[in-house]
């Protein structure tokens, strides 16, 4: 009983004579191939660079961190150079043209007068004097990283002039130079602190998550209690504990330890919850059956699985640390001069009269805000990229 018995007319339809290759359907375009063959880190990188803001922030932070390697060279003046003739001098503006003629970057002279009725210091631009800004010139002598003697600066002003692009403080020290030097402390305190809290969080969270049971319960309660403390008062109390007799360097490390001691809880929680989920996976069971020790299972098999998440959340908690240090130093409980961080600089701007009279003293807040924003965006980008398969 075939079809052609009824009508007697065959249905026309096309049949390709070419041999059929079953693999042809599965063949990938070069683009797809590249995507499927890429390693996890490669995928993360691709996803990360699509987040423009995070990329820019990352670049900005790289530049900032690179700058702390050569602070002495970048800063036009030394950290402690005092200019008795220009105390509380306002920012000088950079000019290019003098009376219509181009002469390159230069500043006018600064004329200082004491207003005898209000006793305030008044500075006026003296347009008769021109001081060119020079590059790669000789200025204040310094010891590069404390060892190499040098006096080379990226830019400085001609002999006799002053170059205070962001003004000076109550001792006539250049704010811009102090900000460049302050970056050293402010930026590293976040990094060292986060390294410490990263280690703490990983170890404690790892133990809690892997073993579970009573250990987990105790750690969980501990974290809850620590998190119920308001951070700043606790930081204040702990930094008041640091003895006054300690050297500034010791205080610096003390402060980082304090910042880390309270900050690890969030990371520990993240590690714990991830471990709880991952330890049920088959490959973990397989490792156990083959007799791997918990240390090896956690470190070798489980950690790599969520390392990217951890890095992202660590990046997001650096801002808290930088802000914490700034706040503590601002209150006079953190770092103390001669160690200079942005918080120490802001300590000068503690009262309202400063804001009214010498507003440029609050300029060190600008790098603080920028760095914190950059870390937030970078952390966001990293978090999105951390799971490239999504």
């Amino acid at each position: 009983m075939s079809a052609d018995t009824g009508s007697g007319r065959k249905l026309e339809h096309f049949v390709s004579q070419a041999p059929f290759d079953p693999h042809a359907i599965e063949a990938l375009s070069p683009e797809q191939e590249r995507y499927y063959m890429a390693s996890q880190w490669q995928l993360m990188w691709w996803k990360f660079i699509r987040h423009r803001l995070a990329l820019i922030s990352g670049g900005f932070l790289l530049i900032m961190y690179a700058s702390i390697l050569i602070s002495e060279f970048l800063a036009p003046y030394n950290l402690h150079t005092r200019n008795i003739n220009s105390i509380y001098a306002p920012p000088q503006s950079l000019h290019m043209f003098h009376e219509g003629a181009f002469i390159g970057p230069f500043v006018y002279g600064n004329r200082f007068t004491l207003n005898l009725s209000t006793l305030s210091r008044e500075y006026k631009e003296d347009t008769t004097k021109i001081y060119r800004v020079q590059f790669f010139c000789r200025g204040d002598a310094y010891k590069f990283w404390g060892y190499l003697d040098s006096d080379l600066h990226l830019f400085c002003v001609e002999e006799g002039g002053t170059l205070f692009l962001l003004g000076t403080d109550r001792l006539g020290r250049d704010i811009l130079s102090r900000m460049i030097y302050g970056a050293r402390i402010s930026l590293t305190i976040g990094l060292i602190g986060i390294t410490l809290s990263f280690l703490l969080g990983m170890v404690i969270g790892g133990i809690a998550g892997y073993y579970g049971g009573v250990i987990d319960l105790v750690v969980q309660r501990m974290i809850e209690i620590l998190q119920s403390f308001p951070q700043i008062p606790l930081w204040m109390a702990l930094s008041a504990v640091l003895p006054v007799t300690w050297s500034p360097l010791l205080i610096y490390f003390g402060i980082t330890v304090i910042l880390a001691m309270i900050d690890w809880t969030g990371l520990a929680r993240a590690v714990r919850s991830k471990l709880l989920a991952l330890r049920e996976e088959d490959y973990c069971l397989a490792a156990q059956l083959m007799g791997a020790k918990p240390k090896r299972i956690i470190g070798r098999h489980l950690m790599p699985g969520f390392m990217s998440h951890l890095i992202a959340s660590a990046t997001l908690s650096i801002p808290t640390m930088i802000l914490g240090e700034t706040a503590l130093s601002f209150l006079g409980l953190g770092l103390r001069p001669p160690v200079t961080s942005w918080g120490v600089l802001l300590n000068e701007a503690q009262n309202i009269s400063v804001v009214a009279l010498y507003p440029w003293l609050i300029l060190p807040v600008v790098p603080v805000v920028l760095v914190i924003l950059a870390f937030s965006f970078l952390g966001d980008g990293l978090r999105d990229a951390a799971d490239p398969y999504k």
Partner: protein
């Protein structure tokens, strides 16, 4: 509900005990004690120090007893309302703390309300208009608020409030009202001064809250019941208000646990800059002069404030959400 309440309050007790232990450890940690700094201060002023007087003081304040005994005495004292004695003020701690604690609570409460009022509509808008310019702009402003150090913002706003509105600088009321009984004028004066700390402290908390609310709502908006409701032709606004928002409100109440420590931290810091008569300035002074009972009680109060705040939010949550009320024990 009652069972849940009792269980919830019982959990609080070990937490508070642990907090008191930590606080006591912190105030015990600094080498030396108040008497030592007191003696050196006297010597610096050229006064002779009577050894007997010192011994008497030492005994009086219990510095000669072992640590555990002192902790026990401090703890049991607190239960009956005896918080110890402030060396600096030469007053019982409770008298120094009283008013200031009230004002701290006032500032914190108003700040929480402010944070909610701001964060709620913005979070709602950001979630429903994801990736729009408005979303980006508002998120950016929120981040900026997060990134600016509170204390500096406080200074700048104080300055402008003074220049533009003529608000007197510092404090929580006009200097004329300070030692007067409460009146309408005093109330207005407090209101006039209160908004600066509230806005300043609120900015950092608001940003975090907006982000969390946005993320939460976005999760909710992707669920199938929302698609179903949309497909059935429910007006978008009504849909939003009726379903996803209700789940988001639960989260909003629960979030107080992470908001409160943040706000109290900010309040302490800002209080120093604005010289508010709250706990901040006294706490710092007490920490610096090793006035340990005063500092300890302050820390204890601030931590208890958070614990109690979280308790309130948990109770509210249980009232709002039957799942928590009924399965409170099963969830563990």
């Amino acid at each position: 509900m009652l069972q849940y309440l009792v269980r919830r309050i019982l959990i609080m007790i070990p937490t508070l005990l642990a907090i008191s232990l930590i606080v006591f450890l912190i105030i015990e940690l600094p080498p030396g004690d108040y008497l030592e700094s007191y003696i050196s201060e006297l010597q610096a002023q050229g006064e002779t120090v009577d050894q007997k007087h010192i011994e008497f003081l030492r005994e009086q304040y219990g510095f000669d007893k072992p640590v555990m005994t002192r902790y026990w005495e401090w703890l049991t004292g607190m239960m009956v309302g005896d918080f110890g004695f402030s060396f600096e003020y030469r007053l019982p701690v409770s008298e120094v703390v009283g008013d200031r604690l009230f004002l701290t609570i006032l500032v914190s409460t108003v700040t929480i309300i402010f944070t909610w009022v701001i964060a709620f509509p913005i979070g709602l808008y950001s979630a429903t208009h994801q990736y729009s310019w408005g979303d980006y702009g508002l998120t950016f402003i929120g981040l900026l608020g997060l990134a600016t150090p509170n204390f500096l913002l406080a200074l700048i706003m104080l300055y402008f409030a003074n220049v533009i509105f003529g608000t007197s600088i510092g404090g929580l009321m006009n200097p004329d009202y300070i030692d007067q009984p409460w009146s309408w004028g005093k109330f207005l004066s407090v209101l006039e001064h209160l908004w600066i700390p509230v806005v300043v402290i609120g900015t950092s908390g608001t940003a975090g809250m907006i982000r969390r609310l946005r993320a939460n709502l976005l999760d909710e908006l992707q669920k199938q019941y929302v698609t179903t409701a949309r497909a059935k032709g429910l007006p978008p606004l009504r849909l939003l208000l009726k379903y996803p928002l209700r789940t988001a409100i639960n989260f909003f109440v629960a979030d107080i646990g992470s908001l409160l420590p943040n706000i109290i931290s900010g309040a302490e810091l800002v209080a120093v800059v604005l010289s508010l008569p709250t706990t901040g300035p006294v706490l710092i002074a007490a920490l610096q002069s090793q006035d340990m009972y005063l500092a300890g009680s302050f820390l204890m109060f601030l931590a208890s404030l958070t614990v109690i705040g979280v308790l309130i939010s948990d109770i509210l949550l249980a009232w709002l959400d039957p799942r928590i009320r009924l399965a409170g024990g099963a969830a563990k």
